[in-house]
Structures are given as structure tokens and as C-alpha cells.
């Protein structure tokens, strides 16, 4: 579905061009949940921005269903980490969620889609509030609902729960599981939280090196639906978590010595 071939990204910086990604190969299948893990500054967000068509590749190719990506593609929606800057503060929750579909759809269908999306994230009763009246977790759910209202085939999520407290995070992780099961959307999920990546994903991809490349790919065969308590006590979960820590820890250790 999504395919990166020899993807490289070089960005200009004050001290000259910085090579962020080099020769990245990544394939994401239909309906798959893939997490991209990596240390801070490892190029996770850049990779996601390239997939979302917000950042052009310097070399190599990126395509979705065989069509090269040269801008935000139809059916591919990015959810940003900073929900506070991504919502329109002057629009109510309902009108924020409608933003991407209000031009194409008539009122009845638009309302139905907005309700459906808000219901999926459990915010239907807050539809007429304004973002500033909601907690951080709720605001992020509004942003997710706005993406869902587009009926995306691919959701690209950039550390969506990174700014939230542990309890809210767990709730939203389980809600996202539900959304994944209900919509069958393909999800690429960037995070720096190892537990989160293993818990949610079908596959974990670790970016390492400078410029970054795919260091470790790990299939997560844990049964679904997953549970915050029992899944996280599962031997297989603990084993996978151990392997990811090892992969990342080794990387961090090397940098510390250098």
C-alpha cells in the first residue's frame, strides 16, 4: 500500500545540509498498524512528513497504491502531535471535525459523518464546545476525529499521545485500537515510547544511525484486542519489548561513547 524505495531526505540547516534519512526501505500493507520508533532527532517525524506529502524526498521514491506521493494524497491524513496548534480555536468541536469534508458533502451527510467520527473517539456530547474548553486529551481526540471524518485509508500519526499523561495515554491507545479494528485503516504511528509501540502495532520499525535507516523490524504477533494489563504481562510482549530496548539501547550506548 505504502512503499518507500531508497528514500533519502536532506534538509538545509544553519550549519549546512543535514542528511536526515538515507536509503530507507519501508513497505506498509493494507490495514497494517506499523510503529516507527527512534531516539529523539532520529528522523521519525521527517519520514512521516514524507509519507504525508508535507515534505518532498531528496532522492528515492515514495508511493501510495502505486501513485507517487507529491503532496497530501487523497485518503491519507496526518495527525500532528501539537493538537493545540492544529485545531481552529474559533470553531466548535463539530465544525473543526467538519473542516475537511464540509466542501464536498451536503449538510445531512456531513453531520452524520461528524457524529460518527466524534462517537468513535467518545466526544459526541462535547460537539458544541470550543477546543479551549477541552482537556489536552480531548483536543487530541478532536484532531483524530477530524482525520476520521475524512474516512482515511491511511492514518499517519506523529507522536499523537506524546504530550499526554500516562492515564489519558492508555485510554487513547485503547480507543485507537478500536478505531483501527472498526475502520480497517492502515496506520503508521510515530512514537518514542517503546511500550506503546509494541502494545499497539502489528510491526515495529526502529530507525537508527545518522542519517537514519531502518535498523530493526519486528513483527508483533500478539492477539487482538489487546489489554493494558494482560497483554503487558504476556511473555511474548515482554520478550518483544526487551528486543526493542536492546536495539535502541545499543544505539544510544554507541552515541554516548562517541
Amino acid at each position: 500500500m505504502i512503499s518507500c524505495r531508497d528514500l533519502s531526505v536532506t534538509l538545509p540547516a544553519a550549519s549546512g545540509p543535514v542528511h536526515i534519512l538515507a536509503d530507507v526501505h519501508l513497505d506498509v500493507g493494507e490495514g497494517e498498524f506499523v510503529s516507527v520508533l527512534g531516539a529523539s532527532g532520529s528522523g521519525k517525524t521527517t519520514l512521516l512528513r514524507v509519507l504525508g506529502g508535507l515534505q518532498p524526498a531528496t532522492a528515492g521514491s515514495v508511493s501510495c497504491d502505486g501513485t507517487p506521493i507529491d503532496g497530501p494524497a487523497n485518503g491519507v491524513v496526518t495527525v500532528f502531535q501539537d493538537y493545540a496548534n492544529s485545531l481552529l480555536p474559533w470553531r466548535s468541536v463539530r465544525r473543526n471535525v467538519a473542516l475537511g469534508i464540509e466542501q464536498q458533502l451536503g449538510k445531512p451527510e456531513r453531520d452524520a459523518r461528524v457524529d460518527e467520527a466524534l462517537d468513535m473517539v467518545g466526544l459526541l456530547e462535547r460537539a458544541d464546545d470550543y477546543p479551549a474548553q477541552l482537556s489536552g486529551g480531548m483536543q487530541q481526540r478532536v484532531q483524530i476525529a477530524r482525520a476520521l471524518a475524512m474516512r482515511p485509508r491511511v492514518l499517519l500519526m506523529d507522536e499523537p499521545f506524546g504530550a499526554l499523561d500516562a492515564m489519558t495515554k492508555a485510554t487513547l491507545q485503547d480507543q485507537l485500537q478500536g478505531v483501527h479494528a472498526a475502520t480497517g485503516a492502515t496506520i503508521v504511528f510515530v512514537t518514542h515510547d517503546i511500550e506503546e509501540a509494541v502494545y499497539l502495532s502489528d510491526r515495529v520499525v526502529v530507525l537508527s544511525g545518522r542519517p537514519a535507516n531502518v535498523g530493526l523490524t519486528l513483527d508483533v504477533a500478539l492477539p487482538r484486542p489487546r489489554n493494558q494489563v494482560s497483554t503487558k504481562e504476556d511473555q511474548e510482549y515482554l520478550h518483544l519489548r526487551h528486543k526493542v530496548y536492546e536495539a535502541l539501547g545499543h544505539d544510544v550506548g554507541e552515541q554516548a561513547h562517541a
Binding site: G52, G53, L54, G71, P72, N74, V77, T78, F80, D82, N85, S86, L88, P89, W90, R91, S92, L99, G100, Q103, Y130, P131, A132, R146, M150
Partner: protein, 254 residues
Amino acid sequence: MLSRVNVSGVAVFVLGLALWEVLVRTGLLTFTYLPAPTEVAVGLAEVVENGELPSALAHTVTAALAGWALAGLAGVAAGSLLGLVRRVWMYSMASLEALRALPIVAFVPVAVLLFGFSVQTEIIVAFYAALWPILLNTIAGMRTKDRLIETGRVLRLSRAAVLWKIRLPAATANIVVGLRLGLSTSLVLTLVAEMVGNPAGLGFLLVSKGQALQPGHMFAGVVVIGVTGIVLNAIVLGLARLVFRGQLTSAGEV
């Protein structure tokens, strides 16, 4: 409602008036032409009754509002263009900075020379005075946060939709600030134009009453000008809150 009235503030104001009255009446304050507040009130009643004040007020407010409204249209349109199109900004920045640094009053005699002793002169001066704050605040407001623009791209909004649904609403609070500042400067400059240019309106009323040695009438004009400024500002703010409630609330303006 009553709790919103600043009682101590009003009391100080009333005391100030009373003190003024006493000082003039007792002869402690000896200006030949300083009227007591009661004389100003009498003067106000006279100029209202003989129709001088209502017609002058109508003239001044019409001219100021006409110039201001034109400046609103031109300022928001030009400000959007300057804020959005980098090339336009690059080409016009030097001229804008030079013109902006010129005190607006310096433009009044020029306008009189070019457009004569007419109401057009007043409107053009009011327009020019209001244009600057509206233009500059619109330009500033158009510097939308990058993330909001990216949000528009992610949701595949057209360029027109990004402008109409994201950029302009994000700039609304700034534009309203510009409109309010522009309104007060356009009123001031209309009065100046009436004093040195077109012999009409409240500005001319002040000058002519001074020359006719009628301080009661003159001070009545001053009071009316002050109240007019407050009322116009309140109307604009009230309308803005009514129309753009969401945008202003989110900007912390309400």
C-alpha cells in the same frame, strides 16, 4: 449589571467636576474664558437647541466613518495581499516604511491643497489616517501559524478555502484591533481637517466658538467629541463581538 459599574471610578469623576465647579465659582481659578461645568451644560443645551451641534456632529461622524470604512476595505484587502504574497511585500516594504514614518497630520495641508476646502478632503484624510493601523495589523494577522496551514493541506483544502477558512479567521482579532485604532485616528484627523481645511463639522465648531468668545459652546463641543469617540468605539467593538464571537474569544479578546 449594577455590579459592572465602577462606582468608585464614577465617584472620582463626579468629584472632579464638582471641584472644577467650586474652583471657578469661588474665583480661585481665574481664566477669563474658563466656564464652570454648569455653564458648559447650558452651552450644550443651547447649541443642541439651535441645531448647530447636531448638524456639525452628523457632518463630522459621516466624514470620519466614510473614510474609515473605505480604509477598512482597502486596508484589509491590501494587508492580505502584502501579508500573503512575499513578492508584493518585498517590492512595497521600503515605500510603506517611509510613508508610515510620516506623521499623518503632515498630510492634512497637502490634502487641502490637492482637494480643496471640501468634504472630500476630510474623507481622504480620514481614509489615510485609518489605513495605516488597519493595513499593518492585517499584515501582522496574516502571518498564520505554519501548523494551521499544514492542517489545511492535510485536509486537502483548496487555496481559497485555506484563505477563507483558516487565514482570515486567524487574522480577525488583529484586524479588529486595526479597525478600532483606525476609527479613533480617523476621527482625530477629520477634526484636524475641519480646523485647518473644510469649514464644517465639530472641528470648525470648536475653532469658530473660540474665536467668537463663547467658551460654554466650545467646551460643549469638546465634551461631545469625547463622547462620540467612546460611543463609536463601543459600537465597533460590539458589532465585532457579535459577528466574530468565536475568533475573538479564541484570541482572548472578549
